[in-house]
Amino acid sequence: MDTATIRVTRYRPETGPEPFFQEYKVPYRNDMVVLDALNYIKANLDGSLTYRWSCRMGVCGSCGANVDGTPKLTCASFLHEFKGRTINVEPLPNFPVIKDLVVNMEDFMRKLVKIKPWIIREKETPPEQGEYQQSAEELERYQQFSSCINCMLCYSACPIYGLNEKFLGPAATALAYRYIEDSRDQGKNVRFPIVHEMEGVWECTLVGECSVVCPKGVDPMLAIQKTKILGATNALRSILMPRGGR
């Protein structure tokens, strides 16, 4: 068995205001990930280490951390990839830290709700009349954007969000676009003002790192630019066409 050196950020506000690093030596097999190492530390070396996790298989999105300087799911970062190096594990950047690796995600949660992530109908039809139907092509238009697991890695990778926390940000816009592109949805007029306000999509300057770090292959950068294009064409149409092109 090899041994990995894990250097974890500790922030313990009850004992002091400054964060510090603590190093642990963890024996590991080839199939072990950074989350396994954190669990080993908590079970065997230091029970006070605090972090979030749940599914261990890249589905729940709760174990994100800055691993070796890059936002990653700790359950998807294999220890052997860092062989011979000290592995830095820090709380996700751009979010306030509550304790050790646990960040405050209130702001992100507020933004998720803000874009109204549900199907809006002008008039609901009763369930007896059947489902709102959709073709395979219509599904394909938004499917990748519905794979988001709300792990917030994209927000941690986004310097625009780091500089201005009012920015609506990658995941929330990707989700808004997912509903805007959904053929069953009729809420464009409700969502457009939200995504196009001052700190909405126009704040994005196309750094593109959100799409690089996404563990689920979602492309929030694309969703944001598509939303910009939709907004711009909509505005043009409302100016040039009679009755706003409706």
Binding site: K99, L163, T205, E209, V212, L222
Partner: protein, 130 residues
């Protein structure tokens, strides 16, 4: 009993944030090269104003000066870099779908470069060669 709350740790991005990762550096270079596009335009507008006010020789001397030649060369390289990176991004953001195949970003880059060469040639032909 109310729970005791502790302050959260707020971390600010430092001014050197973009040096932490290769992609951020590429982004910063892409954005800064636009400065040379703007600078070249300003210098050129100044040159044109010389020409418009009848100082043809002053305009030609400006164009011939070693500093202007050096600046134009640097501006050309940076403008090309800016154009290439944005053409590539264009292909990423607005892929063209023909039948069942979707265009790749490099195809948009090539198509736009070819278009740029054709349009530039047309302008040169209209203004100079004709």
């Amino acid at each position: 009993m109310t729970e005791k709350t502790f302050p959260e740790l707020r971390r600010k991005l430092t001014s050197g944030w973009w040096t932490s990762n290769r992609h951020y550096v590429q982004y910063m270079v892409r954005e800064w090269t636009s400065l040379f596009v703007a600078l070249f335009s300003l210098v050129y507008i100044y040159g044109l104003s010389l020409l418009a006010t009848g100082s043809r020789s002053a305009f030609l001397n400006l164009l011939k000066s070693p500093a202007m030649i050096a600046f134009s060369f640097i501006a050309l390289i940076f403008t090309l870099y800016h154009a290439v990176t944005w053409f590539y991004l264009l292909g990423q953001v607005v892929p063209v779908k023909i039948g069942k195949t979707t265009s790749k970003p490099w195809q948009a880059l090539v198509a736009n470069l070819v278009l740029l060469i054709i349009v530039s040639y047309l302008v040169i032909w209209l203004l100079v060669l004709r």
